[in-house]
């Protein structure tokens, strides 16, 4: 009995270890996807937090552009209260448009454009736009890795057994939302990044 039993035990132990490794790998990938998804939210939240400050600053110099302010504030409120991802995406589009208009308005106020606080907010907003785009990119990268792993043999057997499912990619519906707000310092450059 000796050798045969021993070989059997070794084989079983090795197989179990491999299965544990595969399962843990899948768990890590799934957590990475979840984390990446929350990272998008974190950056969007930061963007929403910056907007009231920006509006206040612009108000100080261009008080009578009320409709523009209202549009931005309203679009922001709709983003914050959006229920679904799709809804939020649409609200984001409106907000992006409203912000673009706000910066266009700011162009005609030289003192505003020289204001340190305004410049800082502008940079922060552009930076946050970039981070939103990068967070989405990382989310999609993570989803790609997870999906590819789930679909590959022999991981697919483990994945099916434990209910790991492929995730959906983040896709932006309207062409307009593909670009971050163009808040340019120099007219020739586009801030932010090409996105996924």
């Amino acid at each position: 009995m000796g050798w045969l039993a021993l070989t059997l035990i070794v084989v079983i132990v090795v197989v179990v270890l491999i299965l544990v490794g595969m399962y843990n790998g899948l768990v890590n990938l799934r957590n990475r996807v979840d984390n990446a998804w929350h990272q998008i939210d974190v950056q969007l939240r930061r963007r929403y937090d910056l907007i009231p400050n920006l509006v206040e600053t612009v108000k100080g110099y261009a008080a009578h552009e009320r409709t523009t302010f209202e549009r931005v504030t309203e679009a922001r409120a709709r983003c914050v209260s959006a229920g679904s991802v799709r809804e939020q995406g649409q609200a984001e589009n409106v907000l992006t448009g409203a912000l673009r208009q706000l910066f266009a308005v700011a162009e005609s106020y030289p003192e505003l454009k020289a204001n340190q606080n305004f410049l800082m907010l502008q940079e922060e907003l552009a930076g946050t736009e970039g981070k939103v785009a990068y967070a989405r990119q990382f989310y999609n990268d993570s989803v790609m890795t997870l999906n590819a792993t789930i679909q590959r043999f022999p991981n697919n057997l483990v994945a099916r057994q434990f209910g790991f499912r492929p995730r959906e990619y983040f896709e932006i519906e309207e062409a307009e939302a593909r670009g971050p707000v163009r808040v340019s310092f120099a007219p020739t450059e586009t801030p932010g990044q090409p996105r996924t």
């Binding site: 922060e124 930076g127 990382f138 450059e189 801030p191 990044q193 090409p194």
Partner: protein, 296 residues
Amino acid sequence: MVYEQIAANRRTSFLVCLIFAAVVIVLGWVLGELWGVPWVGLAIAVGVSLGSVYTAYYNSDQIVLRMSQARPLLKSEHPHLFNSVEGLAIAAGMPTPRCYVIGDSAPNAFATGRDPAHGVICVTTGLLDKMNRLELEGVVAHEMSHIKNLDTRLQVLVAVLVGTTVLLSDWIRRTVFYGRGGRRGRIRGGQAAAVLLLIGLLLALLAPLIAQLLRLAISRSREYLADASGALLTRYPEGLASALEKLAADTEPLEAANRATAHLYIVNPLKGETRWETLFDTHPPITERVRRLRTM
């Protein structure tokens, strides 16, 4: 692609450590034989190399930053750089590296740190002044890739390999040529040992050169990889390509850089750019790097 590169770098790091261990043991043995007390030589060699690996692993980033006269950059000084670094760290899914700056008008940048959690990106004021936003982002992405791909760790290990090999070989040469006269005749074990010792001596003479060439070859190949994975991060190769062209066009040498740190930078800070890749270059030719980026 990036994950395979990280795995490849882990393997290379492991291999470098193995080669390093072998070289150190051989050199230590030769040294011991020459001194007439083999175990002492070996013990000293192993002790020195373990000590230098330990020191290098935990302190190299600080040493490099001090050698380059870099200081921490404040967010208020250049918000855009911080935003780029933070954004690209998100895109790469790694902790945000710290930002340092060198007060020099020659545009350049490097990365260091033993792992992503201790990453540092260092830029010159010249880089901040001369690059536009997309170019700066391209450069930051290149440096970020060095950290993420664990190139910075590999560089530390390789630098230690070179340094220790040079040190030990130096001791051997000095022992052979200048000193401890009477003991040289005390090699035991007859002909076989004598032949081994001869090979060891030859190795001692060649090791520093080989180690140096190995280091340069690793450094060159890592630049292409960092360019490629940097472009993958920004999804915009043109930013880095145009930055590299600007860097190539700039002829001012970076004063804070020297031969020990030159290979860390995104482009050779000592200038004297060659048209062809040679064994002794720290960096591949910029024209070739730009060409590869543009054909992505």
